[in-house]
Amino acid sequence: MSCVETIQAYALRSLGFGERLLPRGEYTLCEHFTLIGSGLIWNVYFGALALMTGFFLAVALAVGKSSTNPLWRKPAEWFIFVFRGSPLFIQFFFAYACFLSLKGVSSFFDPFTSAWLGALIVLFCNTAAYSGEIFYGALLSIPKGDIEAADAYGMTGWNRFRRITFPTMLRLAWPAYTNEAIFLFHATTLVFFSGFPAWRQQGDALYYASYFADKTFNPFVPYPILAFYFILLTLVIISLFGFVNRRLNRHLPQERRKKFRWRPNLIR
């Protein structure tokens, strides 16, 4: 098979299109690149959807945790503690076991046991908890003057939150949130190693990389390819988030803008 044919056959393999059987025998470099890249679709799917939906819950959690009313504060604190204090790996296992037993109760829970929904829910809660903590920290460091100025203009409640608190919180939290996004995408590689079955060998990038490594006993080809893809993905995330960061900071003079700082110490 030429490389173009390989790409035609396997580029969408992870979604179930194209050739049914995975390549066998001697694996070419082209097959490595195509299949691992095909698996990356799942990583992007999980990461992007969890990030977008998790954002809203994260803001709610941050506001809840900074509330003076214990009825709001306690649930938010507990949610954040549970999801930040335990390993994501165990959360996946636990959620899968839960969904599996719920499946016995009602057929409504059938889709929850497959990765596309079940793992997405876990990642959604997980990223909401981590970013909720980041946003909470940002809420605490909003300059006192900003709130006082809003009060002086007679802004209260929702109006003050929408115009002053929320934009400032987002601006202060954004560099840390960029890190969170990067590590969320890295965490998506855990999905198919933690109970959720890869249906018909439709897995993510790491699933295919470890498939190749298991078959060839040669980790020196598939894992560097995986690394290459993920570095590319990381650069895309940094530039996208950098674009938003510039927009959030556009009213500030250059030296007061918050810069993105790499903090590479987060496995979940």
Partner: protein, 294 residues
């Protein structure tokens, strides 16, 4: 375990549970908790050592050494950590076997990678196929510890490199003004002072290390995740005296609680250590402590 456990089918309620939770396999589960603790106890100092070495290499005046240090600290950037775990376990195993192969079978003329197979001579295999089971298990654990140490060493190197740069420049200049050599200034001034800057990062790292211990399961070690999966599955009366339906939920809930308690206790302890270390330091934290006392 207990004397009344001889016929489990007659038992009910708490006495059944007490017998069930003390079966041989459950004892294996409890032992595997110590495997996790042992991993933490060995990995933490070794990773710190690797990190310290790499951070000092990254500051070295000798260019190739600096490249090595910087390269090592930046391998963890941008790539999922779990990929490193899966990679290093096979790569280290093959590296060891290859080295032994070179030493023990010098007159071997076939290629080592034959198509999709990795072939070394029999005496170079690790562990030897004749060695007992516990050697295989210990070797697996050793590889896991080494993998963890390499990955977390890179994390620690990042933290320590930052901490070394955070020590005020004036301190080093003062040391040099006193006539200390580069080496003396490093060991007597920089190293003792950097810990207070490193501790927030290192305590974060400790939490991350705790939370990454379930990955041992992926490295083929029989850890708590392995036993929870094993014991939680459906058991029929044909194969065991304690039949039960699928109890994975309860086992993983127990693991979840175990990890939550572990991280909580660590957090409390590390907070105390931080309070002790910042006492009297010329940092914002130390200043806040001084004001609160006054």
């Amino acid at each position: 375990m207990f004397s009344y456990c001889t016929d489990p089918s007659t038992l009910e309620g708490l006495s059944w549970l007490s017998c069930y939770l003390t079966t041989g396999k459950h004892v294996n589960l409890y032992i595997s908790v110590f495997v996790v603790l042992a991993l933490l106890a060995i990995t933490a100092p070794v990773a710190l050592l690797f990190g310290f070495g790499a951070a000092s290499a990254a500051r070295s005046k000798f260019l190739p050494l600096r490249w090595f240090g910087k390269g090592y600290t930046s391998i963890v950037r941008g790539v999922p950590d779990i990929a490193f775990f899966l990679f290093f376990v096979i790569a280290l195993d093959q590296a060891f076997e290859w080295m032994r192969h070179k030493v023990k079978c010098p007159d071997w003329d076939q290629p080592i990678r034959q198509g999709i197979d990795f072939v070394v001579c029999d005496v170079a295999k690790l562990p030897l196929s004749t060695s007992p089971q516990w050697v295989h298990e210990t070797y697996g654990f050793f590889l896991a510890v080494l993998t963890f140490s390499i990955v977390f060493g890179a994390f620690a190197a990042n933290v320590l490199y930052g901490a070394m740069r955070a020590v005020p420049r004036a301190q080093i200049e003062t040391a040099e003004a006193y006539g200390m050599t580069h080496r003396q200034a490093f060991w007597r001034i920089l190293v003792p002072q950097m810990w207070v800057y490193a501790l927030p990062g290192l305590s974060n790292l400790w939490m991350v290390l705790i939370k990454s211990t379930p990955l041992l399961f992926l490295l083929g070690v029989e850890d708590i995740v392995y036993w929870a999966r094993e014991l939680g599955g459906t058991k029929t009366a044909r194969f065991t005296d304690y039949p039960h339906p699928n109890w994975h939920v309860w086992y993983f809930a127990a693991l979840l609680v175990f990890y939550l308690c572990f991280t909580k206790v660590s957090e409390v302890v590390l907070d105390r250590v931080m309070k002790r270390l910042t006492k009297g330091q010329a940092t914002a934290g130390g200043e806040a402590q001084r004001k609160a006392a006054a």
